[in-house]
Amino acid sequence: MSDIQKNERKLTIARGMAEAIAAEMRADSRVFVMGEDIAKLGGVYGNARGLLAEFGDQRVLDTPISETAFIGAGVGAASDGMRPIVELMFVDFFGVCMDAIYNLMAKNTYFSGGNVRVPMVLMTSTGGGYSDGGQHSQCLYGTFAHLPGMKVVCPSNAYDAKGLMTAAIRDDNPVVYMYHKSLQGMGWLGTEAGSVVEVPAAAYEVEIGKAAVVREGSDVTIVSLALGVHHALKAAVRLAEMGINAEVVDLRSLVPLDRETIFNSVRKTGRLLVIDEDYSSYGVTGEVIATVTERSINILKAAPRRVAYPDIPIPFARHMEQFALPNAEKVVRAVEEMMGACS
């Protein structure tokens, strides 16, 4: 990753998020954090570690299990000049509080003609693969990216995680910050090692709405986000052994979507594969493919492909869940087929 300065300290995504939040809380007294198990526990996923000790219980708040109330409260506080960071512990829980998110947080700015700002960050955990069942393992990227009025970011590594959190807090618009549980660095979940990277101690922003080419290549463009980026990179290593040179694009943001970077990459390679852990139909994979095909099909040497979660509720049994999940192996097979195919 060319953006990373050479630095000998590495962080997990959880620490990167907490570090960004702490820095912004030091710089701006309007920033505060609330959510379930955020204060005393430091967040179930470690992203609020150390905040209570440094900032106290007036700025780091444990909430009751009342998502509609406290996410709605986040909207009200943000509309009144504060800069809240609110956690929805599992993205799967959006069902109980979606009105506050998509009808209030996302629309109040528009409904007020731009006169009311909602500078709020809604951070939420995503992802499965550890047998937590169908109500605690979803990604739902498409659901949130689809609805207008909220920015959506999904870091794949600690450097981007810290930079995107800083940018999200400073943004005057509502930002949904979706972090994948397998990338957090929580030992009890099993962490993807590639997410633990060097992170500068000083504050910096990663631009929201800008994708990154994390591996350059010439034969196929593999686009992904969050955990999918790591599957893509592993697949790229195996493909290289087979003489196939893959370019990997890390979206980093879903809203705004960096369609230019996606298109330019496919224009170079001629082949597109999208890997996404969210449900296959009506989501990220379709959107990325349409981003290219609605602009030009002449640049394509093969039909675009997607490796995504099937349109099923997530099963509990380990073998079934692993069968359904996207992985590097599925990417390799799909690319092999694309390389053999004609346009």
């Binding site: 000998e8 590495k10 030992g187 009890w188 962490t191």
Partner: protein, 77 residues
């Protein structure tokens, strides 16, 4: 040479722990007190800090299972 060992005072039992993450590169220069790794015993994560200044060499890699007193890394002054 100073060893970073799995501490004896973080949990009561003789349960083993696993190295879950190294927060510095192998060969990095560290200062006393720097956070260098996290280990996990059962479900609880523990922070491991460097006892001194120097260059750190990793002995127990990520996912290694370790016992109290095992050497995790060495620091050359």
């Amino acid at each position: 040479m100073i060893d970073i060992v799995v501490p004896a005072d973080r949990w009561d039992s003789d349960d083993q722990a696993v190295i879950t993450v190294w927060l510095v590169q192998d060969g990095a220069t560290v200062a006393a007190g720097d956070l260098v790794a996290e280990i996990m015993c059962v479900k609880t994560q523990h922070e491991i800090r460097s006892p001194s200044n120097g260059v750190l060499s990793i002995v127990a890699t990520v996912d290694s299972v370790v016992s109290k007193g095992d050497v995790m890394a060495r620091i050359a002054a």
